[in-house]
Structures are given as structure tokens and as C-alpha cells.
């Protein structure tokens, strides 16, 4: 449906019509990037703005580069795409170097498993969603008993703990599933050391030991990654409970690509998936992850697995509410509208209160702190 707008006068469109157009363009950019060349210029302009807002422009540009299509687009699209590639390549180099320096700093530490999570895991494991991916921090899952010695080794080698108020120190040490972030004195990458993937107070009690046991050491590397099923379960858990909904769509893209990649490459992946989700007490996030990856991005979830996941569906009122909230929050708003705080915060409160069991006072403080950390790194035009 081409837009029949008068030059310079944006067409009068109802809000829902506009958000359908947004979703259609984003899905097209994700699933068939080459076909963007046939888009009418205004729609291509909107698509690039949406992908930037969803932190997926680097990925789109890298895919078009692989298809050798960048120069097939009219000016200034090549400059936009090559700029996104330069940004993504630099972020990958910076993360790779941080991992190199962390391994150097820990060379004398006991040889305990250092399990990479999220962006760094995809980068070193070479999963398809790693190309052109935007990410910043380094997340490591380690055995809780090893945390103190690892933290002190890093501080000895130039990493600095962030200065926290007594409350935050308390929050991080006692409730969170991670230590306060460390940053090297000469670099800006945040290193987060986790001893689990969910907060202590969470109703769901995934066992870090089980995750660590199944982790696999990467060939010729100091680092390990979670098993394929655990990697997907963690991505699904992080999508819902991390509270960073701005990058929600990018995480759903990760989930979809991991399911597709490991569904093909990892023997017994799908048969092991749901039993593992239940065993790790992550059935509810797994239910949502499978549902929305398939519903919104067409992830190849086999019917028997989807059927099995129904046992972890939320009680009556919550399901339909999530079905409405999740897509509105995940897909980027039209760039000329400010982002959708209302739905995002309602979703967060809903999830946090019910599944992370955080008392209201603690919840408000936690939201404040996490939101503030994210706000501080916000790049206006990134």
C-alpha cells in the first residue's frame, strides 16, 4: 500500500494504521532486507529510522553488505549504512578487547568457568544474530564462591568499582543476581559479574549450578558459553525481567535466530527444550519467549513444543493483557512520537511485582536505579 501523501504534508492516518505500517516495515527489514530496494523512498526513510530506534540498523546494514546491495541504494543511504557498520564493528572490537584484557587479568586466578552471557556469547560463539549487533557491556556468569577472588583480581589490574550509595551496595550484594558493574580506569566498557540469571528474591529459582554444569568451553578460549537450550532460556528470561524494554525487539530477534540456528544445528535441541525449561524453573519466561518469537517474528517453534509450553501459560487476566502490551512495547514507536513510557512501565510493574517479588519500596528504588544507569549511557542520536 503506497502512501499517497501530498508532498510535504504527511498523510492523515489513524494511529493503529500507522503502527501496523511500522510493524510491517520492521518485519520486512528483518526477514527480507534485499526487498527494501523496492520500497517507495518515504517508506524506506521511515524503515531506516525505525531500525535505528530498535538498535537493529547495524544488523540490517551488515546483512545488506553481505548481499553486496549497499551501493544499489540511492544517496545518502550508503553513508547511513556504512556508518552503522563502522559503529557496530567498533563496538565488537571494543568488547573483544575487553574480554582479552579480562582474560589477561585473570590468568593467575584459579581456572574456574567464565560463562559469557548475551552479546559477548553470541559474538564468540559466532551465532548468526551476532553480525552487526549493537551491544555494550560484558556479562559474565561465574560460580558465586569465586566472585570475591575474581573481583579483587580485576581491581588489582585497573578495573574500578562504581561508587555506590550504601543502599545500592546493599541492593547489589544482597538481592541482585550480579555485582556492581566494574569499569577499567582507561576504558568505558561495563563488566557485570553475575552469580545467577535472576534476583535472589525472585519466585523463580533457576539453579546457577545447573547452568554452569552444562556450559561449554569455547575452543582455544578462556571463556565458556551456556548450552544452546540454556542460552535461549536465558535470552527469554532477560527479555522479560531485565527491564530494558527499549532493546526488547533486538532481544526477540536474538531469541528467534538462536531457536532457528540451534533448532537446525544442535541434535536433540527441541526435544530437550521444554523439559529443561521446567527443570530450571524458567517455564513462564520460556512460554512467553516461544509465544512471541513465533507470533511476532515467525520463529520455527515446533507445534508439540508450543503445546507443552501451554502448561506454563499465565492465569486468565494476565495472558490477553500481555498479548496486547508486549507488541506495543517491543516494536519501536513512530520516530515522530516520543517513546511509549506508559505501556512499558505498566508491563514492567506487572512482571516485577508478580515474578520478581520485589516489595513496592524496593521496586520503585530498583526501577529508579536501573532506569538511571540506562539513561546515563543513552546516546541521543544512536
Amino acid at each position: 500500500m503506497t502512501e499517497s501523501a501530498l508532498p510535504g504534508r504527511s498523510a492523515k492516518r489513524t494511529v493503529s494504521e500507522r503502527s501496523d505500517n511500522v510493524r510491517r516495515l520492521v518485519k520486512r527489514a528483518l526477514n527480507d532486507p534485499g526487498s527494501l530496494r523496492e520500497l517507495e523512498p518515504r517508506q524506506l526513510d521511515l524503515t531506516l529510522r525505525l531500525m535505528r530506534r530498535a538498535q537493529l540498523l547495524g544488523r540490517l546494514a551488515a546483512q545488506l553488505q553481505r548481499l553486496d546491495l549497499i551501493d544499489a541504494f540511492p544517496h545518502p543511504v550508503p553513508d547511513i549504512l556504512f556508518s552503522a557498520i563502522a559503529g557496530a564493528e567498533t563496538r565488537a572490537r571494543v568488547a573483544r578487547w575487553e574480554l582479552d584484557r579480562l582474560a589477561w587479568a585473570l590468568q593467575d586466578a584459579p581456572d574456574t568457568a567464565l560463562v559469557l552471557l548475551k552479546g559477548c556469547a553470541y559474538m564468540l560463539a559466532g551465532t548468526p544474530n551476532a553480525i552487526g549487533r549493537a551491544f555494550g557491556d560484558v556479562d559474565l556468569l561465574v560460580d558465586e564462591s569465586m566472585l570475591p577472588s575474581i573481583e579483587s583480581q580485576l581491581i588489582d589490574h585497573g578495573w574500578l568499582g562504581t561508587r555506590l550509595s550504601a543502599y545500592d551496595e546493599h541492593y547489589y550484594r544482597n538481592w541482585a543476581h550480579e555485582l556492581p558493574p566494574l569499569t577499567h580506569r582507561e576504558r568505558e566498557v561495563e563488566v557485570d559479574l553475575h552469580h545467577n540469571i535472576l534476583m535472589r528474591t525472585a519466585r523463580l529459582k533457576p539453579s546457577a549450578a545447573m547452568l554452569l554444569d552444562d556450559a561449554r568451553r569455547l575452543a582455544g578460549s578462556r571463556y565458556s558459553v551456556l548450552s544452546p537450550v540454556d542460552m535461549c532460556l536465558h535470552a527469554m528470561t532477560h527479555l522479560l525481567y531485565s527491564g530494558e524494554m527499549e532493546s526488547g525487539l533486538r532481544e526477540l530477534v536474538d531469541i528467534t535466530e538462536l531457536l532457528r540456528h540451534y533448532g537446525d544445528k544442535e541434535p536433540g535441541f527441541w526435544s530437550a527444550f521444554w523439559p529443561r525449561a521446567e527443570k530450571l524453573d524458567l517455564a513462564r519466561p520460556a512460554y512467553y519467549g516461544l509465544r512471541y518469537a513465533r507470533m511476532l517474528l515467525g520463529a520455527p517453534v515446533p507445534d508439540p513444543v508450543l503445546a507443552a509450553s501451554a502448561s506454563a501459560a499465565p492465569p486468565a487476566p494476565i495472558g490477553p493483557l500481555m498479548d496486547r502490551l508486549i507488541p506495543t512495547v517491543l516494536f519501536p514507536p513512530h520516530p515522530d512520537e516520543s517513546s511509549r513510557h506508559i505501556e512499558a512501565s505498566r508491563l514492567l510493574l506487572l512482571v516485577r511485582q508478580h515474578w520478581l517479588r520485589m516489595p513496592p519500596l524496593l521496586l520503585a528504588r530498583h526501577l529508579g536505579y536501573k532506569a538511571w544507569l540506562r539513561f546515563r549511557e543513552r546516546k541521543p542520536a544512536d
Binding site: L48, P74, D79, A381
Partner: protein
């Protein structure tokens, strides 16, 4: 060859009448500024008139295209009748800095556009430098804020040097030719008067008081520089300028390794461009003569650059007393 932008085939801003321009600006219009196609949607009282004057000669674009960025400037409804009216600058729904007083609208838009270029367009290596061209060679004047770079640049632009940019030395890594992005040149405080005396024919925008940097007035880029904005120019001279009250003119060659570090340290995105940035700055330093200039009198400085461009050797009193023969330009390594 990647698609490059044409300049001639588009109508100019001044093909509209001022009223028509204001209406289009409120609804959103396209401008081609160097390699960037910019969509600007602005509704602010103190903006349309000066923008029309300063960008009169730039190509006007219809909106059936992809834009490099979408800048928005909205005047906020004044909270209280007498309180200061404010404008809000946003890019794709995000606000990079505070609301500003409405009469600073032009400065806010110009500064906001700088911010978006510097944060996004890492396809270019972006040196924080003025760039002007004479006899086919580019003069680079890298400098931090407050070194008198823009005043010197505005002066040279009205004395036979083609303006490529007063702020951004843009290069596509791997090449040492600079990509022009001529823009209105923001002069600050005392240098506004200096420029009026030096080049009475120059056209200046309104003097905007009370900005974070004091009073700002923009010099309109000469028409022929705007028309030639597609023609790149290879690096030939790198001069680190510094204005210093009552200083005696001094013009010394800078060791190349030091010139490298000063150029790279002064760039907006040297580290983001990575290895290609190292190779590009190395090639610039290899093919250029690098100098440090200290000046207090604008005429003296412009006259020295004239000699530099004409490749004429010239005596210059160097700071430690003995005269120093100015090496003939173009004598490559």
C-alpha cells in the same frame, strides 16, 4: 563509485518567497548541505527569516527521499505569560540537550545538526577542523574551541579561499580528499566586530545574545563555495592556528609525528573509524606541510596564507628571533 549527490538539478531555497519558505519549514522541508540531506521541521518565531537568508543558495529537496537525519525544533507554549519562551530540539523523538530560549533557535538548530553528524556519520573520518581550498589544495586548520579558527576561516573564505567547512574536516577513509560541507560560520563575541571591519561585504545573521558561549552571529558562506560543494580537495597544508592578543606573528613547522597526534586527538571519531583512521591521518601528514601559527592581527595572518598558497617562499620572524625561511609549498616529502 558510491552514489554521490548532485547539486545543480535542484531548485534553490531562495526560489521560494520568505512566506512560502516559513510555511514549508513549519511543515518540514529538505536541504542538501554537503553530503547530508537534512529534513528540518521547525516552528519558531526567530528562525525562518535568518535561516532563509543564510541558506538561500542551498538546494531545496522534496520529501520523496531518504534523509540523512530529521531535525525538529518546536517552540513550547510559554508556561507563564511573562516567562522565557523556549524551543525544544529533538532528533527521531529524542532530545539530546535542554530546552533553550526561543531567540536562540538558529544557534540551537546549527549546534544540534553538528551533534547528529558527529554522533552518527562514522562512515566519514571527522576531524575537528576548518577546511579551505586554493589552487586545488586543501588547507586544514585543526583546533579546539576558542583558538580563533572560525574567525580566520571566515576571513579566508572572503579572500579567495573556497570554504569547504569551518568545523568538520570530512574524509571518506582511504582517501585524503576532503568532502565539502559549507555552513554558516558562527562568530562569537568580539570576533563579530572584527569580521564586520575585515569583510564589510560579508553577510551576517542576527546577533544572538545569552547563548552558552555568549553572543553568536553566523556568517553566510560565499555563494560560489556553496555551488562547488560537490568538489572535493586533497590535503596540502595543515596549520594549527592560535589567536593570542598582541602576539607577534609566528609560523613554525611542526614535527610530523606531533602533527599526527594533534590531528587524531582533535578528531570527533578517530577511535570509532579505527585502522582506516590511522592510515588516513598518516597519509594526510605524509603529503602535507604542517605548521603552528600564532597570530593577533587578522590581515597579517591572511596575507601569510596568501603567500603559502602562491607557493612563494617568505621570511617570517620565528619566535626565537632568527628569521626562518618559509619552505616553498608543494615540496612533498
Amino acid at each position: 563509485m558510491p552514489a554521490t549527490q548532485a547539486f545543480a538539478s535542484h531548485p534553490r531555497v531562495d526560489s521560494l518567497d520568505p512566506g512560502g519558505f516559513q510555511a514549508r519549514l513549519a511543515d518540514g522541508l529538505g536541504l542538501r548541505i554537503g553530503p547530508f540531506d537534512v529534513h528540518i521541521k521547525a516552528r519558531a518565531t526567530a528562525l525562518a527569516e535568518p535561516l532563509y537568508r543564510l541558506y538561500g543558495h542551498y538546494p531545496l529537496l522534496d520529501d520523496a527521499r531518504v534523509f540523512s537525519c530529521h531535525l525538529r525544533l518546536e517552540e513550547l507554549r510559554a508556561a507563564l505569560p511573562k516567562s522565557v519562551r523556549r524551543v525544544r530540539f529533538t532528533v527521531d523523538g529524542r532530545q539530546p540537550h535542554d530546552d533553550m530560549p526561543a531567540e536562540q533557535a538558529l544557534a540551537v538548530l546549527e549546534w544540534g545538526f553538528n551533534l547528529v553528524i558527529a554522533l552518527r556519520f562514522h562512515r566519514f573520518l571527522m576531524l575537528h577542523s576548518a577546511v579551505l581550498e586554493r589552487n586545488g589544495g586543501a588547507l586544514l586548520m585543526p583546533a579546539g574551541p576558542g583558538h580563533g579558527k572560525t574567525t580566520l576561516c571566515a576571513a579566508l573564505a572572503h579572500r579567495g579561499w573556497r570554504l569547504l567547512s569551518d568545523e568538520f574536516g570530512l574524509l571518506r577513509p582511504g582517501k585524503t580528499a576532503f568532502v565539502p560541507i559549507p555552513r554558516p560560520m558562527p562568530l562569537k563575541n568580539a570576533s563579530i566586530e572584527v569580521m564586520r571591519n575585515f569583510a564589510p561585504q560579508a553577510e551576517l545573521g542576527p546577533s544572538i545574545e545569552g547563548t552558552i558561549k555568549g553572543t553568536v552571529a553566523h556568517v553566510r558562506p560565499p555563494r560560489d563555495s556553496v555551488d562547488a560543494a560537490a568538489i572535493e580537495a586533497p590535503a596540502r597544508w595543515v596549520v594549527f592556528p592560535r589567536w593570542q592578543a598582541d602576539a607577534r606573528l609566528s609560523f613554525e613547522e611542526v614535527p610530523r609525528a606531533e602533527a599526527f597526534m594533534s590531528l587524531a586527538r582533535n578528531a570527533f571519531n578517530y577511535e570509532v573509524v579505527g585502522q582506516a583512521a590511522f592510515e588516513t591521518v598518516r597519509d594526510i601528514v605524509d603529503r602535507s606541510r604542517c605548521y603552528r601559527l600564532v597570530y593577533s592581527d587578522l590581515d597579517e595572518a591572511v596575507e601569510l596564507f596568501d603567500r603559502l598558497a602562491r607557493g612563494v617562499g617568505a621570511e617570517v620572524e620565528s619566535s626565537d628571533g632568527e628569521s626562518q625561511a618559509l619552505p616553498v609549498a608543494g615540496e612533498g616529502r
